[in-house]
Symmetry: C2
Subunit: 139 residues, 2 copies
């Protein structure tokens, strides 16, 4: 895929997610996607590796079940051939407590046939876990 | 700076770090660098924001004091204009305990005049803290 195609696809993906158009997001996920959100599954059951669109949509459903997306702002978007990297400032509200979590996300993506086929997500999970629990972790 | 220049600079930076050539690394850091390693400073005193080359070299010195770099393998390198993003598989040995830590790093960089002027580092810090402490965190 040409770089312009990747740039258009990554913009469309993040625009769709930011406006909570999950049908459009689903359409931009490749059937054979290789996906990892790095984080502790004990706190974030939707974290960890997923293989294939159905498993990824289930993980996204898990996020939406526990958190409402309040704000998703890509701050840096880097595109190179069929790959992209995006750093975002995001806010999610924890439905059970109404607690607001705010943190940065770092995503690495690879596109094939206009869809995401590889996805890796990083966050400062020590801090995000403390925000989710509403208290400091004991060391 | 042209993209080819960014690609050469980012490769040189990571090659220098991987071979522990810290003088060369220092030469590739802009005097006015804006730097953040996202992580808990209680466990990793070298984490957090730093401004300027001297402060960054002090942070790098703090890493080297507590950990010896065993392996640093960039797996994905994305370059776009004056920006780059790099995902790496890294191993550090904790000097005090001889414990080996292995994890992935996600870096976002911006270059100016052939040097890094903006740097952001992400890792799954919940996991890295557990590796550094040698035990699971109590939730």
């Amino acid at each position: 895929m040409a770089e312009g195609g990747t740039r258009a696809a990554v913009r469309e993906l993040y625009d769709a997610y930011a406006r909570r158009d999950f049908d459009r997001v689903a359409a931009l996920i490749h059937e054979d996607i290789d996906w990892v959100i790095y984080g502790p599954v004990g706190v974030f059951p939707f974290a960890g590796p997923r293989r294939g669109r159905a498993a990824v949509l289930q993980a996204l459903g898990g996020i939406a079940e526990a958190y409402s997306l309040e704000s998703y702002k890509p701050e840096i978007m880097i595109v190179d051939g069929d790959r992209a990297a995006v750093m975002s400032d995001v806010s999610f509200r924890q439905r059970a407590t109404n607690r607001m979590l705010r943190f940065r996300l770092a995503n690495f993506l690879r596109f094939q046939d206009g869809k995401v086929i590889e996805f890796r997500e990083f966050a400062n999970t020590f801090d995000v876990v403390e925000q989710a629990l509403g208290r400091e972790l004991q060391l």
